[in-house]
Symmetry: D2
Subunit: 303 residues, 4 copies
C-alpha cells in the first residue's frame, strides 16, 4: 500500500458546471483548487458529496480526477471520492484513480438496498483488491442510507489491507469515542460533520473533511491551529465564529450552498445538477449575511 500523511483541513471542492451546457467546467475547478492550496489547506478531496460525485457520468468523473491530480501536482495529497451503487462500478473507479495518480480514495458504500455487514465488508474488499491506494472508509448514513458501525469499520481496517482511515459524518461524537476505544487510538479518524468540528478535534480527530474550506479557508485553518497548540479558548472562539456558516451549509445541502457562497465571493461555479436546485434568493441573502459576520467576527444576533 502507498503511504500517505493525511491530517488537518481536508478541503472538498465543489464541481463547477458550465452555464451554457451544464458540462464540467475544468477551468474554474483549477482556479478553486489553487485558491484552496494557496490558503494553506492540507489536502484536496475532489468528488466527495460536495463534488456531486453521485451525479456525474463516468467520463465526467474521470475528467475531474485527472484535472484535480494534475493541477494539485503533489503540492498536497489528493484523495478521490467514490460512491457507486454497484461494486463493479466502484472498483473500476478505484483502479482509475490510482492510474491517474491520486494519493488515496474515500469510499462511501451507497446502496439502493440496505446492506448487511458482510455485504459492506465484501464491497470494500473487492474495491480494495482493485487498487493499491490507501482507502478511507466513509460513514455518512444521511446521504448513503447505510450506517456503518465503528465495530465494522475497525474490522475492515484490520482485515482489508488498504483500508486504513475512517471518516465519520454521522455527527455522533460517541462514534468517534468508540473508534478510539476499539483501536486504542491507533486508527486515524476524520470528522465529516461540520458543526462537530471543535468537539471532534477535542476527541482526537486527525483531521476535518470540509467543504467550508471553499468559503472560509482561514477560519477552518485557524481552528486546527488553535487545537494543535492546545489553546482551547481560542479554538472555541474561532469555532463559534464560524459555526453559523457550518450550520447553514449542512442544513442547506453542501453543493447548493457552497456554490451559492462561491458566487457571492466572485467565483461563478454554476448551479448544482437537477433535481437539486440552486439556493433561492432568501437563502442567498441569509448566506451573504452569515459570510459577512464570519469575516468580521461580529456576533450573530440571537434568533
Amino acid at each position: 500500500m502507498h503511504n500517505i500523511d493525511l491530517h488537518g483541513i481536508v478541503a472538498y471542492p465543489i464541481t463547477p458546471f458550465r452555464e451554457e451546457d451544464g458540462g464540467v467546467d475544468a477551468d474554474t475547478l483549477v482556479r478553486l483548487i489553487d485558491q484552496l492550496i494557496d490558503a494553506g489547506v492540507h489536502a484536496i478531496a475532489p468528488l466527495g458529496s460536495t463534488g456531486e460525485s453521485a451525479y456525474l457520468s463516468e467520463s465526467e468523473w474521470r475528467h475531474v480526477v485527472e484535472t484535480s491530480v494534475i493541477r494539485v501536482a503533489r503540492r498536497v495529497p489528493v484523495i478521490v471520492g467514490i460512491s457507486e451503487l454497484t461494486t463493479a462500478a466502484a472498483a473500476r473507479r478505484a483502479t482509475f484513480a490510482e492510474e491517474a495518480g491520486a494519493d488515496a480514495i474515500m469510499v462511501l458504500p451507497t446502496s439502493y438496498w440496505k446492506l448487511g455487514e458482510e455485504e459492506v465488508f465484501q464491497h470494500y474488499a473487492r474495491i480494495a483488491a482493485a487498487t493499491r491506494l490507501p482507502i478511507m472508509a466513509y460513514n455518512n448514513p444521511a446521504t448513503s442510507g447505510i450506517d456503518m458501525s465503528p465495530e465494522l469499520m475497525i474490522r475492515m481496517v484490520r482485515e482489508i489491507d488498504n483500508v486504513c482511515m475512517i471518516k465519520e459524518s454521522s455527527g455522533d461524537i460517541q462514534r468517534m469515542h468508540r473508534i478510539h476505544e476499539l483501536s486504542g487510538g491507533t486508527v486515524p479518524f476524520f470528522n465529516g460533520s461540520n458543526p462537530l468540528a471543535l468537539e471532534a478535534f477535542a476527541a482526537g480527530a486527525t483531521g476535518w473533511c470540509t467543504a467550508a474550506a471553499c468559503l472560509i479557508p482561514e477560519q477552518t485553518l485557524s481552528l486546527y491551529a488553535a487545537v494543535r497548540s492546545g489553546n482551547l479558548a481560542a479554538a472555541r472562539q474561532t469555532f463559534y465564529r464560524q459555526l453559523p456558516l457550518l450550520q447553514f451549509i449542512l442544513k442547506g445541502g453542501l453543493p447548493k450552498t457552497v456554490k451559492a457562497g462561491l458566487r457571492l465571493q466572485g467565483l461563478d461555479v454554476g448551479a448544482p445538477r437537477h433535481p437539486v436546485l440552486p439556493l433561492d434568493e432568501a437563502g442567498c441573502r441569509a448566506l451573504a449575511t452569515i459570510l459577512g459576520q464570519v469575516a468580521s467576527g461580529e456576533a450573530r444576533s440571537a434568533a
Copy 2:
C-alpha cells in the same frame, strides 16, 4: 395523457441475470412474465425496486423495458419503474418507456442529497414533460431517502398533468388515510408495503404492488378477491397465511429473497448484483420452510 386501468395485483418481476457473465437473462425474464400473467395478475411492473432498476446500466434497463413490453403484448398493462439520481437521466428513460410501448411509468425520486418539496415537484414536472404516459408517484423513504408527504403527492396529482396515481411504501397506514382525505377518495393509491396488504385494502387501496406475486401469485390474488367480495374473514385468513412470507421478503430485501425463492421453486434467475449478496444458506432454509407452510396453509409455529 394515455388512459390506464390499473388495479388489483400489480406484479413486480425480478430481473434475472445470467450466471456466466452477469448480464440480463431475457429468456428467463419472459418465462417469469408468462408465469405471472398465466396466474392471473392484473399488471406487470418491470424495473421496480425488485427489478434492481438502480443497478442496471442504461442499455440494460432499455433492454428489460423492450423485452417486457413485447412479451406482455397488451395482455395486461405494463408499468415501468424509473429511479434515477439526476432528473435528466430519469426524463430520458421516461421518453424511452413511452416509445417502447409501456402503459405507464412509476417514478421514485431517489437522490444523494435530501430534496426539498420544490425540488421533488420540479423533478416530476420535468419528467412528465418528457412523456405522455400516466405517472405513478412512488414514495419509498426506506430505499430512496426521500419521504414525500401525502400533501405533496396530491399537489403533484393536481398540478402536473400526467401524475395521476400514488404508490405508498412507507408502511404507514395513516399516509393512505391522508391521501383519501385530501383527495376526497378520488386519487387511486396503491400499497407497496407487503405486510400492510390487508389493511391497505381495508383503507381503500386500489391495488397492491408486490413482488410476492413472483412466489405466491394465487395467495395474493385470493386476498384481493376476498376483499372485493366483502369477505373480511376470508381476507384475514388468507392474509395471515401469507404474512410470514411477506415479512420475510421485506426484511431480507426483495431481489435477494425473491430470487432465492424462485430458485427454490425451480426457476434459476441468478444472483442479485454486488454489493447485494445472494441469500445465505440459513436464509434459504427458512424461506423454504415458509414457502411450504404458505402452500399447505399450515400455521406458523410461534417464535
Copy 3:
C-alpha cells in the same frame, strides 16, 4: 381468575374536575357514565390515560374507582386503569380495584427509568400477585416511555396467571399481526390507537379502547357493527367520516380535547390538570367544526 367478556367499544371516560377547587367532580362523572352506557358502549374504563389517572392522588383515584363501579352497577364490565411509577403503588391499587368490585384492570408500566424486559415482567407479576382480577397488558410507548414487544406481552400472558388481554396503542399495525401470529390468534388484543380503528378490526382486534366514545358514541359503535357484519364498505365509510375527530383528539391530547368537546356538547367537565392546559380558542373552534362535520356526515374539505 375472574372471567370477563370484553369486546367491542371500550369507552374511556375523562375524569371531571370541579371548577371551584379542582377536585374530582363525581356528579358529572356519573352523568357521563350513564350517557356512555345509554349509547350502548360495551365496557367502561375509568382511569385510563384519558382519565388523567397519572395526575390523581391515591385517594382521588380510589374515589373514581368506587364511583364508577357503583354507578355502572354491572350493566357492562368495568376495567380500571393503573399506571404507577413504583410497583408497590401499582399493586396497592390493583388490590383496591378488586375490593371495590372492578371486573378487570389495565396496567401500563410507566417508569422514569427505562425498564428491561425482566423488570417489566416482574412488575406485572407482582401486581398480578396482589389481585385475582384479569389484567390487560397495555403498551403505550408514547406516554409511558416503555415499549413492550409483542413477544414480551405474549410471554406474560402465558406465564402470569391473570394477564390475559393486550391493549396495543403504539399505532403500529404490525404489532397486532405479531400478537396474532405468536398466539395463533388465541390472545384477545384491543386497539388503543384511534386512527387505526378500521385496520385494527380488519386485523382481528377484539375491541377498540377509545375516548372518542365520549363524543361520538354512535359512530364508534357503527364502525364495530359494520365490521361484525362483514360490511367492509360501510365500515370504511363510517371510519373516514369520524377519522378527522380521531386524528384531532390523538394529536391534541385526549383529556384536553375530549374535555373541550364535552363542553361544546353541553357537559361541563372542567379543565385538565396543570401542567396540561385547556384547549385554546382556535382549537375549540376547529373541534366544533369537526364535530359538526362528523355529525352531519359532511366530507372534510381538503387542507
Copy 4:
C-alpha cells in the same frame, strides 16, 4: 432571587434505602455526602434522576432534602431535584426546598401527556412563583418524555425571573452550541450526559452534573481541572480513561449501576426501588472490571 455560584463537578448522590424495610437510609446518605465533599466536588445535587426522586413519597423526598441540606452545611451549594407530574406538586416541593435551606432547585418537566411549549413555560412560571430559589431548567427527554428546545429554555431564562441556568442531558452537543449562540454565551449551561463530558467542556459548559462522582470523584475532578488549565491533551487522556465507566452507568441506568458500584467499593446503599431491579451478577462483574481499569489507568481491551 438568591445568588449562587455553581460550576465544576456537580455530584448527584443516589438515595440509599434500608434493606430491612426499604425506607430511606439517612445515615448512609450522610456518609456518601461527606465522601463527595471530602473528595472535592463543587456542589451536591440530591434527588436528581440518580436520587430516584420520582420514586419517593412526598415525605421521603422532604426527609432527603432536609438531611442533605443539614449535612452539607454550606460547605458547597445544594441544588435539589424536582420532577413531578403535576404543577401543583412541583410547586409545593419548590417551596419546601427553599424553606429547608437549599441553594437552588433543578426542575425536570416530566409529564404523562406530551406538553406544548406554552404548557412547559407555564409549568416553570408557576413553580418559580412558589420560590425565590434560582432554578435550573433541566432537559432530559429520554427519562421525562419532554424535549425542551434551546429556544424555549433561553426564553424561560429571559422571561421567568428565577430560571437562570440550563442542564442539557439530551446528549446532543448541537443543543449546547445553540444555547451558546442564542444567549451570546451569557447563560451558564451544564452537561448532564456523562459520555459527552469532554466535548461539553470544550463547547463551554460551566459544569458537569454527574453521578459518576459517587464512584470516581478524582477522575471527574481531574477532567475539569485539565480543561480549566487549557490542557486539552491531559483532558482527553483522563476522559478516555473514565469513558468506559461513563458509558456503563448511562447504559445500565444510574441508580442501578451507581448503587452496585458503591457496594463494590464497600458502601452498602441498598437496592433501587421496584420496578427497577438491582444490577445482575454479570453486570456487577463487568462493573468491577471497569472500576478496576479506571483506577489503574489500564487501557480497556477492545471489544
